[in-house]
């Protein structure tokens, strides 16, 4: 049995300690917001936070999470469902297309803004370069990060 702390909750899982966090979260804990894209730390679709730092959950064995806390996309919104600042910016800027990469994008962006509340264009590009979006939502990801950092949004009609 491995005891994990996921999104603030203690969870017990009975898995091989070598199992990547990705599959434990998706299959054992049934939290499917974290995605499988490449399996070898090349795309960022599987990004979660381990003690607040973004990691590639497809390539990190669950044993490494022992005694640490994991945050997944499901853990970003407030208890009442209110979106985090980054998530809200993602909606305001209409970022997602197919949406498959976006959990990973949002986790990476959230970590970026935590460390650097006002990133430059270059810092955004550098921090986000590990996250592939095949739908090419990059222009909007840049905007959304700026908006989450406090720049005014060009809000949609809703």
């Amino acid at each position: 049995m491995i005891t994990l702390n996921v999104n603030g909750q203690a969870k017990e899982v009975d898995v091989d300690p070598a199992t990547p966090i990705l599959w434990v979260v998706r299959e054992n804990l049934k939290m499917t917001g974290t995605k499988f894209g490449c399996g070898v730390a090349l795309c960022g679709a599987c990004t979660v936070h381990l003690d607040g730092k973004p990691i590639r959950s497809c390539s990190t064995p669950v044993s490494e999470a022992d005694g640490k806390s994991i945050t997944t996309i499901e853990g970003l919104a407030a208890e009442d469902g209110t979106f985090s600042k980054v998530q809200q910016a993602w909606v305001d800027e209409q970022v997602a297309q197919c949406g498959y990469c976006q959990s990973g994008q949002i986790m990476t962006a959230t970590a970026l803004l935590k460390n650097n509340p006002n990133p430059s264009d270059e810092q955004i590009d550098t921090a986000m370069a590990g996250n592939i979006c095949r739908c090419g939502t990059y222009v909007r990801i840049r905007k959304a990060i700026k908006v989450a950092a406090g720049a005014p949004s060009e809000t949609q009609e809703a």
Binding site: P20, E27, K35, C43, A96, Q97, C98, G99, C135, V139
Partner: protein, 735 residues
């Protein structure tokens, strides 16, 4: 239950959810009587032939017969329906039509066939090749060919909304005893201003269902649009922002097991021997299957299945494709093009006498271009979950063709079609890849060999190596210019691709003599539609050669295209807009260049200007200016998003997209050797939309792609004088 009549059918809709249901058959000659007996078979839930319902809480639900793969189609189609209905947008819900084809028959299909409506031929084989019409796309629930808005939306969703509105008004007129003409609708309410009466749509839903279907519901003119043409926020975005959106890969069933698979590296080979000694002993492993054309390991968890699969030794049978290398393939193309000479091959378009015009031309231009195979690389790898048990089969995936998936599952499982249910989810990217059925068939076969629901997931490696690829191709041109530098002849021969048939043709350019031919060059790799299909290759070929002709004529690429488009004001406007946006005449820093390209495709006219910085080791694409005329953009923000997306997809192909074969096998396997554009490589994108003809709508998902590659390579030429004739750019030495 007895035979259903139209009323019974609608009545059942009302009874079931207090809903007014307007059938698919909103057209003259009311066919609902004929549809109803077919629908009756499947009990009350089968509203596949019904596109709008209104429930007791005045919620309007638009039922859309297309899938959502990031193109925002749910929102756009609902926008079209809700606008005609005068529905309150905040109370509109969207439902994907279930995969059910009880009413698909030649008879009905013919009833719906809209004459003169172009359906991309890419869809033809998928529709069993037996009919080709708007109805095919709608009833077979195919999403592709940038067709949803210009076909389904324009012809069906709007009509369904308008018809429902007229029925509600008729019902209100009867109840209030006033003339229908005195009533108006707004925000899901019917209003009678004279008497200050108003009531919700819901209060007339039942009575409206009693009204006859209007033969020709009146559609709004653009000045009355309230929702169409507005950048309305997409309804699927919030759930794609908090991890709750369910994709095919997220299917979850009690007792579900996981399968990892590996197919022979050379397509068409069979698994000859399999040694699974180690795999058998590994934890969690339940079953190891040699399926003949692939190996599958079924385990308690996907990671366990993958680990075990990696230990299995296999040998494969020999195939004709074994010896083939990429260079040999291009050599084969070249040889066959040589053999075709000046006259062989299938003529795709011809006018005038190219032979004579070229012979007499003052300046002759010749060039050959090549592009490689490309994989789709959807972010969500191929996957499918299937459960086959006593006389029943359920399948979960994300497909561009739900109805075909259901058929494929029925055929594969051998289970009666009526007992097969297909459940579609969001697609983590489609781009044509999810129009194939291989993942559905494989998962169903695995499920058939097991006792439990099985989720099959392809590794990224399998996804890259077992794709249905965008074909590689070679294209040769000869062009003639007269002494004033005017284009007088254009001849082209290229290796055969797919579709659309007009992709290699240039009817919009004034060139008196032209001839375009193709030759077939078979390869063992599987071909499949890839975003913008043949336009992805021909856009590059054609617009590169136009630029070479401009250069030979001593003219600027923009000015030369203006001459070619003289007399086509709509085309010219698009070209001029892109040039103006880019500041075409303004000087750029040393080592930077601008390139322009113009490609109308999928009903949308697009010009793009690329600005490229060539001062570094590698080309850096700085900005893309897009001018697009899709007729009318139903959701301008969604349209702009599709332009941005097409640019990223096209730029990946331009910069480094290459699938190559060695010894018959695809060499690339994951994102390290099949790289995808990353955010630091993404140019700024400016989009300007021109609504040039609100009656004929164009597509959004694909037409932004074809002009991208040539705009970039033409910009590279402007900056360096180096003409790129083969993609991707990663193969070109710019030192």
């Amino acid at each position: 239950m007895g035979k259903w009549t139209r009323r019974a059918f609608i009545g059942a809709g009302v009874a079931a959810g207090g809903a007014l249901v307007v059938g698919i058959a909103v057209r003259p000659g009311n066919p609902i009587d004929r549809l109803s007996p077919l629908v009756a078979k499947g009990k009350g839930e089968q509203l596949i032939n019904a596109w709008v319902k209104i429930d007791a809480d005045n919620i309007v639900t638009a039922i859309v017969p297309h899938v959502e793969m990031g193109q925002g189609i749910f929102t756009s189609l609902a926008q079209m329906l809700a606008d005609e209905l005068d529905a309150d947008w905040s109370k509109v819900r969207i439902l994907e039509a279930p995969a059910d084809d009880k009413y698909v028959s030649h008879d009905i299909v013919r009833e719906f066939a809209a004459p003169n409506l172009e359906v991309p031929a890419i869809l033809e084989p998928t529709a069993s090749g037996s009919f080709l019409s708007l109805a095919t796309v709608m009833t077979l629930q195919i999403t592709g060919g940038s067709f949803s808005i210009r076909g389904t939306g324009q012809r069906a969703m709007r009509t369904a909304g308008a018809a429902a509105r007229e029925m509600l008004v008729a019902a209100a007129a009867k109840e209030w005893n006033v003339r229908a003409a005195e009533l108006r609708t707004e925000n899901s309410m019917v209003l009678h201003d004279k008497s200050s009466k108003s009531a919700t749509f819901a209060s007339f839903a039942t009575a409206a269902a009693e009204q006859s279907l209007p033969a020709k519901p009146k559609l709004k003119s653009p000045k009355d649009y309230k929702l169409m043409g507005k950048p309305i926020a997409r309804t699927d975005i919030p759930e794609k922002t908090d991890g709750s959106a369910i994709f095919g890969i997220d299917a979850d069933l009690p007792g579900m097991k996981y399968a990892a698979v590996k197919a022979p590296p050379v397509v068409g080979a069979a698994v000859e021997t399999m040694d699974a000694t180690t795999a058998k002993t590994m934890p969690g492993v339940l079953q190891i299957l040699n399926m003949g054309d692939f190996v599958a390991v079924v385990a308690d968890g996907y990671w366990q299945a993958e680990q075990a699969l990696a230990t299995i030794d296999t040998t494969y049978s020999k195939t004709d494709g074994d010896g083939l290398d990429q260079d040999a393939l291009f050599a084969r193309y070249a040889k066959m093009l040589d053999e075709a000479g000046d006259s062989d091959g299938d003529v795709e378009a011809e006018e005038g006498d190219v032979g004579e015009a070229f012979a007499n031309a003052a300046t002759k231009v010749e060039a050959e271009y090549k592009v490689p195979f490309l994989a789709h690389a959807t972010m969500e790898p191929m996957n499918c979950t299937a459960w086959v048990r006593e006389g029943k089969c359920d399948v979960w995936s994300g497909t561009q063709m739900p109805l075909m998936a259901r058929k494929a599952a029925a055929e594969t499982s051998g289970i009666d079609y009526d007992n097969v249910t297909y459940h579609n989810a969001y697609l983590g990217g489609g781009f044509g890849r999810r129009a194939e059925m291989d993942m559905i068939i494989m998962a169903t076969r695995i499920a058939k060999a097991t006792q439990y629901p099985v989720k099959m997931i392809w590794s990224r490696e399998e996804d890259t190596m077992q794709d249905h690829y965008r074909p590689s191709a070679t294209s040769r041109f000869q062009g003639g210019l007269d002494k004033d530098g005017k284009a007088v002849s254009w001849s082209n021969i290229h290796t055969h691709l797919f579709d659309p048939q007009e992709a290699p043709t240039v009817p919009y350019y004034n060139i008196a003599n032209h001839k375009i031919r193709k030759i077939d060059v078979p390869t063992h790799l599987r071909f499949g539609p890839w975003r913008s299909v043949d336009h992805s290759q021909h856009g590059f070929f054609i617009e590169s050669f136009v630029d070479e002709m401009a250069q030979a004529a001593g003219k600027d690429g923009y000015a030369f295209r203006r001459e070619l488009l003289a007399g086509s004001p709509r085309h010219l406007k698009v070209l001029d807009t892109a040039a103006k946006m880019s500041g075409w005449d303004k000087p750029l820093p040393e080592g930077h260049g601008r390139g322009i390209a113009f490609v109308p495709s999928f009903g949308t006219i697009i010009a793009e200007v690329a600005e490229v910085d060539m001062t570094g080791k590698k080309p850096k694409v700085k900005k893309i200016f897009v001018a697009a005329d899709p007729g009318f953009a139903v959701n301008p923000d969604g349209f702009a998003a599709q332009m941005e997306s097409s640019i990223a997809y096209g730029l990946t192909a331009t910069l480094f997209g290459e699938i190559s074969v060695k010894d018959g096998a695809v060499q690339q396997s994951n994102f390290h050797d099949y790289p995808i554009l990353r955010i630091n490589e993404m140019p700024d994108v400016a989009v300007e939309i021109i609504n040039g003809d609100h009656k004929r709508l164009g597509g959004a998902g694909e037409p932004g792609l074809p002009p991208l590659a040539p705009a970039v390579t033409n910009a590279i030429f402007a900056a360096t004088g180096k003409r790129v004739r083969e993609l991707p750019l990663s193969k070109v030495d710019f030192a």
